[in-house]
Structure formats: structure tokens, C-alpha cells
Symmetry: D2
Subunit: 261 residues, 4 copies
């Protein structure tokens, strides 16, 4: 079964900034999609902010197994309705890979329930990404650590909930550390945040980074059927209780009435 | 040091429903606050939906160590600005106790990043609350389990993130189970969800339930100074890096410029 | 790639107890292995206590992707050397499925670092197993819950570390609850504990239970290469540090000396 | 209520190594106990390997709220009976602070169920300890990070179970990172591992390190009554079940018989 990945890109600096344009002539999303498509198990397409519904219609998301998200300058321009829609699909089981400055995207903050803030510095320094759990699916094919020659520093404290698993921690020239690869689950959806990816450096051309992206998409794809009613709160009347019980005492709701929300 | 607790009540069924009114003549919030004030270490006051800013002004929250939240019929009437404000204070370190139907409150869903849905049945059946970790601060003074004679059934799946700790699991006459006491952390804030508390039964008059509420407030109070900048993303210029580094390579941001969000 | 599973059975009551013998003429391990072999992706063989090295030689374990463990009466008869060997393989990446009374096996207690105690009752009562996360790989193909007609009650508190994920929680006729399906990771190894399986009832003949076993074996199989040096503590001399540093100050160890352990 | 802390020291290099002796004339345990006793809420005494029962008799442990553990050269000399006894007390609710080379102590490995291995280098390099959660009780009074001028490098992968909370992560001159402050719970016991503390450097004289030790002892002290039967597996006969049930079907155990272990 091919994993259907949608690579979402904000596509602003990709078009407007000369440095970014020269590094990523097909956009960062184009580069990431090509990296994913190098894996025969993955079929990746792209979607961008400027498309209708940001390229993320209900129909498109319904057929996505995994969504990757890169945004930075235009977080605020993402429509709330699309954010809600993506969250629903994650809860139903779609995987989500949030990249770099996506830590401040509406969708990541919504799914984390936390500030998702961090320290940062744009000084072209070196980052060394350490593999914390080399048996984790997302770490396959990597060495004990790998280097990104020029990076934007992202430093702790990274105000996320305690992760399910910490896969990578980064060391920086300038003295900081960062949990640069962390996993979460929300409903049926698997979520991976990966820090490297500042747009003025050619980070998504890096072989190790591309391996991480492919691994992450494979890991995040949940073959279970969509959890269609994950957001429902079904009433179970007394006469349909698993064990026989009698209706008794006062009640608020008329039989069959939906709950409040 | 006295723990300052604010007991928030929706105060709708408390006024409008005759059964609820007769059980809770001072409102559910009145009953809960009185239960908390039975502990000399706690000083509890109340706030309700119908007050200006729902009784939760910036100044009031700034002086709250712990907020308890009971809402049901009017989740939708809670102003977004107040929800944001409460979330900010939780991230800064204020404790939050979410009660019963508060599982679908805006604030709980925001902090969980998950549907927070469940099965339910209003049949006056029996609930037995099992203590999973009897050494947990929230379980102090309880036996191995305690019974709530008439309850609304809340059943799994409860679509929350994997909790930090599971303190209670409930058994119901009708055959369901529920993780009825679970903890989380978000930023500096400790969060406890406690399931019992349907308004047409006298649950907040129960001695064991009151003990849980007092324990939970004590547990959730974080004596650390408020994490005032938990939501900030400070830039650390190259010349202020912990280790000496040189600014190099292309950059996106002018020196001193704030990041995007 | 076929998953190589070894089904370990204590094989004591299977031989000595007439009830158990009649339910499981090929032993419980025989029944479990047959259930696993119904999945073409799995190739299961058996090993028992009475075999040399309990059937778990170094060579055998080296070729096992997943080990399932059922023991009860003879926990104390399992050789420490075999327990150590199994733990090493789990840390290297072999999956481990611990069944029922295996909660008190040496290997489970060793990997948990906790008492692993529980309440119990052998009264032939009904157990209803609730699926907490229906999108979890181990829950595939099951309904919202399933019933085991006659079971041994295992009740909370179950003194395990907080699980990575709670997949199942059981309800019992007699009023107890139990986290009956929980996952953990240790090193490269995935661990699943599953409570149902008392030997005087035909539980491993149940279709839902067999589905859980197959799902669990698939989930626990880690395709990553064995983490061969997971137990090593490599010294990294100053002249081989990732970043150039100078050896300085006093030191305890001679160059190249191994650490203490 | 004063917190009763027992500071356990191996006391081998403290006596035998001239460098260590000059830094710690009263032993490392002496220095640590003095640091703890600077907090009026803590009453710390010491115990060492060379004492009868390593200074950790049943009676002594029964009166300890928190035990700190520093060992290195003589891990193997610690009696199994004492290790079992300490584990029992942790499960009952005694706090445990494991220091530096204690990552390979018998007690830490037993409670983790994992290899607890790491990379290391003894080159007198600099360590910068980053505070991941500044609202955590163990981080009170510290800045965003603090420096240890000369340290032994401990590097990832640190093969521990996923921590309950990651409080500190360290950066090293030589390019490595390490989760240098992590929490766990086992039964009623709170466990904190703290990495700094190599014996040939004056690390336990450092004001920040001493603050961490005091904070950790306060955090680890669990005021709950000892969970005396945490290791028991009580049988609950059918006629004492919380809900009325009838004994039925075959059974293995005679009424009142203890379970197997």
C-alpha cells in the first residue's frame, strides 16, 4: 500500500526571498515532496497557502495518510476552518509532520495545547543532531549523530507537553540544546515535530534530513481505518447498556437527546 | 502560604433546573467552594459565567493559584478572550481542575489538543472509583475505592492525550469503565480532570469527592514564580550566545527583529 | 518479511492439571502458536521451561523477532541467566508480549522495575475488555469492547510504571477494573502486557483474544537492526570528541580504560 | 515536618584517591549532606558501603523519606539484599536521588529495567545545564542555564525508559548532549537522576548543583503513608467482591490460597 503524503508549504519566502528561491527553485515543498517520492512506498504531492482552501479541501485531506507542514511568515493567514479540518483528520488517524518554524503554526499549537515557544538565533552556526533512540523507526539509517553545517538555532525551553518519545536532541555551536525530534499522539493521529529546516540554508537538500522525513512519513502513516466518530459523544441509553440496568433517579436530558458541547 | 482557589461555575442549571437548585441552593460552585474552604490551607472564592468577563478578569486570574472549572450547557457562551487568558495563566503556572462535563469546555479542549469525547448515559447508576496510585497526593485519605451511589456514566474511549498519570479509573453498573482522574502538565501548569459531578445528583456533597477536590487543589498549586514569558520566543543574537560564535551566512531577520508567529 | 515469534510456555499446569489439559491438549503455548500461525506474516514456534535453557538459547533468541511469555506456577524455576539473556534481547530490539500471570514473571518484573502486583479472584466471572484507543495497531479488528465469558479477575492497583499507552481497560462482574492492555519500551524493545489468559478457562481459544495476540506480535516486531551495543558504555577520548577539545584537569581513568560497572 | 534524607556514598575514591580526598575531605557524602542540611526543612545523615548492611538497615530505611545514591567503582560490592530492600522502600514511597555514575548502580538499573548505558569522556571540559521546565520544583532558584566548569561528559544515547519529565539537558564543549535531569515514578516512590558529579572535580561544592540537590530532596519526599503492601497480591474471594457475584466454573486455587510468584 502506497502512503499518500501531502506536503504543505507556505510558499511565501520561497517566492519572495531571493536566497530561498535560489536554494529551492521549486519551493521548499517541492524539495520535500521530491525527497519523499524517492521512497517507492510514498506518493507525495504538494499544497500551498495561496491555493483555494490552502490546497487542503475536505476531499484532499480525506485521501491523505500523512500531512507535512512548513510555515513561517504567514501563520496568521491560515484559515481557522482549515486548521479545524486538519485537526479533525489528525484525530481520525492522519499523520502529521510539523517542520521547523511550524512550531508556531496554528495547527501545532492547537494539537499541543501549549505555547510551543523557544529561543532562536539566526547566525549560520553548526547543529549536531543526536539520535536518542536508534531503534526508533524515525532514526533508521542514521549514525549516532549527524551535522547540519549551517542552521538556525532553536533552544530550550521548548514549551511543549512532555513528548511521547524524544527521538533527537540537537547541540549547537553557540551553547544551546533542543529536543529537535519529538513524537506525540492525538486520537488516532501520530505527530512528529522536527526542528531543522530554516529556509535560508539548504537543509532539506541534506541526505540525513531527507532520510528523517521519509522515515517520519512511514512512521506517521496509520493503516487503521479512519476513526470517523472520534469527535462524537454517543449517548448510550439505559436499555442499551452492556450490562442490564434500570433507569432511575432524576435526569436532565430527554431520551435520545444529544449532549451539550 | 494559603492557596488561592477560584471556583468557576457555569451557574445555568444551578438556577434554572429545580432538581439542581434543590441540591445546590448556593450553586454547584457554592458547594465546591465550601468544600475547599474546609481546608485551612485553601482560600476559595467563586466566579460565574454571568459576571463581567465571567468573573475571570486578568487581575483576578493573576492572583489565583488554582482554578476549578464546571460547565455544561453553556460551553459555547464562554468568551474566547477569557479562554485565551485562562490558558495563558495555566501555562504560567496556575493549576486547573476540570470537572465532569467540563471535558467539553473550550479551555479543556484547548489545553488537550484532542477531541475529549466520551460515551455517556444518564441513568442514575452506581459508579465505583478505583484508586490506581494510592501514594499520589490526589488520592490521600481515600480507601482502595469509593462508591458514588448515583452517577452519570462516562465511558471509554475518552479521547484525551495519554495522561501524565492515571489516578482513578471508574467502574459502572452498566458495564463501562472510565479514566475518571487523570493529570497533565502544560507549561508551568498542572491540570487534573475528575469525572464525577453530574448536576442532578448530590455528588459534590460526597465526602470522598470533596476530599479529592481538596487534594487536587493542593496538588495543582505550583509555588514557583509565574513563568511570565512562557509564551515569548526570545531572539538570542550571535554576540550574546552562551558560547562565542561568529555571525555568518545569509539571514532572514534584521538584527533585533521579532520572529514570526 | 515473516515475523519470527517464539511462544514460551511454562507448561506445568498444561501437563499436570486435568482441566487445563483438556482445554489445551497441545499446551497453552501450542494453542497460542497456532493462533499466531493463522497470520501468514507470522511464523511461530514454541519453547518451554522443561527444555534445555528453557528452549531459549542465545542462538534461538538471536533469531526471534518477538517472544511471548506465559508463566504462573514456576516463575521461580526460571534460570536467572535466561532472564538476563531475554532482557538483553529486548533491549536490543526483540519484542516481548507478557501474558496474564506473567505479570509476576522474573522477566516482566525486571523490565518494569516495579512490584507488578494486583488484586485477583478466581470465580469464573465475566470480563469486558474496553478498547481505549481503537486506532492503535493492537486494537485492529476489534469492536468497542469484547467479552470474556469466564475469567480470573485482575484488579487495580496494578503496580506498574505509568504505561507508554493504555490500549485496553477491563470491567469485571465483581466490581473491579484493570488496565488489561498496556505498552512500554525498553531500549529498542517494545513490550505489551495483556491480562486475559487464566489457564482453567478457554481464553486463548477466543477469537478476539487471538486477534489481539496477532496484532501485538505485529506491533512488537521492530524491523530495526539489533541494537547490539545497547548495554555498552563507550569511552570517547578527547581526541575523538565530535568537537575539538583539549584534555585538561585531573582524571580518574587511564586512557582507553573501561568504565566501572 | 522535617524531611529525613540519607546520603549514601560509596566512599572508595573519597578515601583512596588523593585528588578526590583533597576536594572532599569529609567524603562526597559529607559534602552532599552538608549541602542538604543548609535547608532547614531537611535533616540529612550519611551512610556508606563499608558500614554493616552498607548503613542501610531495614530500620534506617524505614525512617528515611529520601535516599541519595552516589556509587562508582564498587557497584558490584553492594549486597543484593540491600538493593532489594531499597527497591521495596522506593515502591512504598521513599524518594530516591541517583547521582552521576549511579546510573550503573544496581538499584538504578533495577528500578529502570533498562541498560542505563551512555557515552562518556573524562577531559575536564565544560558542561552547560539547560533548564527545560523552569516551573518544575527541582528547577527553582536556577537561571535559564548554569555552567559546570569542568565535568565528565555523559552523552546520549542514555538508555533509560522514556522519563516522566525531562528537567535538565546538558550541552558539552566536545559536542555531545545529555538528559542530565530526569524524573520517574515506581509505586509510591519518586525518582530523580542527576548527571553532574564526577569525583575528581569539585562539582558538589557548586551552588547551583547544591540547589538542585535540595530541590530534588524536597520534590522526592512523599508525605503519603508508606504503601506497605505495594508488593502484595491480595486474593479477593467471591463472597468479598465489591459487587455480589457467584463463584462458578473450575478453579486452580483452594479458597484462601496465596497466588504463585
Amino acid at each position: 500500500m502506497t502512503i499518500r503524503a501531502v506536503v504543505w508549504g507556505e510558499n511565501v519566502h520561497d517566492r519572495e526571498n531571493e536566497v530561498v528561491r535560489s536554494i529551492y527553485p521549486t519551493g521548499m515543498h517541492g524539495c520535500i515532496a521530491a525527497a519523499l517520492n524517492a521512497d517507492p512506498a510514498i506518493s507525495a504531492t504538494t499544497a500551498t497557502l495561496d491555493q483555494p482552501e490552502h490546497g487542503l479541501s475536505q476531499a484532499r485531506l480525506a485521501e491523505a495518510d500523512v500531512l507535512t507542514w512548513w510555515g513561517h511568515k504567514a501563520h496568521g493567514a491560515v484559515a481557522e476552518a482549515v486548521v479545524e479540518r486538519v485537526a479533525d483528520r489528525v484525530w481520525q488517524g492522519m499523520g502529521l509532520i510539523v517542520l521547523h518554524s511550524g512550531h508556531f503554526s496554528k495547527i501545532f499549537k492547537k494539537l499541543m495545547g501549549a505555547p510551543c515557544s523557544l529561543r532562536w538565533r539566526e547566525a549560520g552556526e553548526k547543529e549536531r543532531v543526536w539520535v536518542i533512540n536508534r531503534s526508533h523507526p524515525i532514526a533508521q539509517g542514521l549514525g549516532a549523530s549527524f551535522v547540519i553545517g549551517q542552521t538556525e538555532m532553536y533552544g530550550e525551553p521548548f514549551t511543549i507537553p512532555e513528548p511521547l518519545e524524544t527521538v533527537f536532541i540537537s547541540w549547537y555551536d553557540g551553547g544551546e540544546v533542543f529536543r529537535s525530534g519529538v513524537t506525540f499522539k492525538r486520537g488516532g493521529g501520530r505527530i512528529f515535530y522536527f526542528a531543522p529546516g530554516h529556509e535560508v540554508y539548504p537543509i532539506y537538500h541534506d541526505a540525513n534530513v531527507q532520510a528523517v522525513l521519509r522515515n517520519a512519513v512511514r512512521w506517521a502513516a496509520n493503516p487503521a481505518p479512519a476513526w470517523a466518530d472520534v469527535n462524537k459523544a454517543p449517548n448510550v441509553p439505559a436499555d442499551q447498556a452492556p450490562e442490564p440496568i434500570k433507569q432511575q433517579g432524576p435526569r436532565l436530558h430527554a431520551p435520545g437527546e444529544a449532549g451539550y458541547r
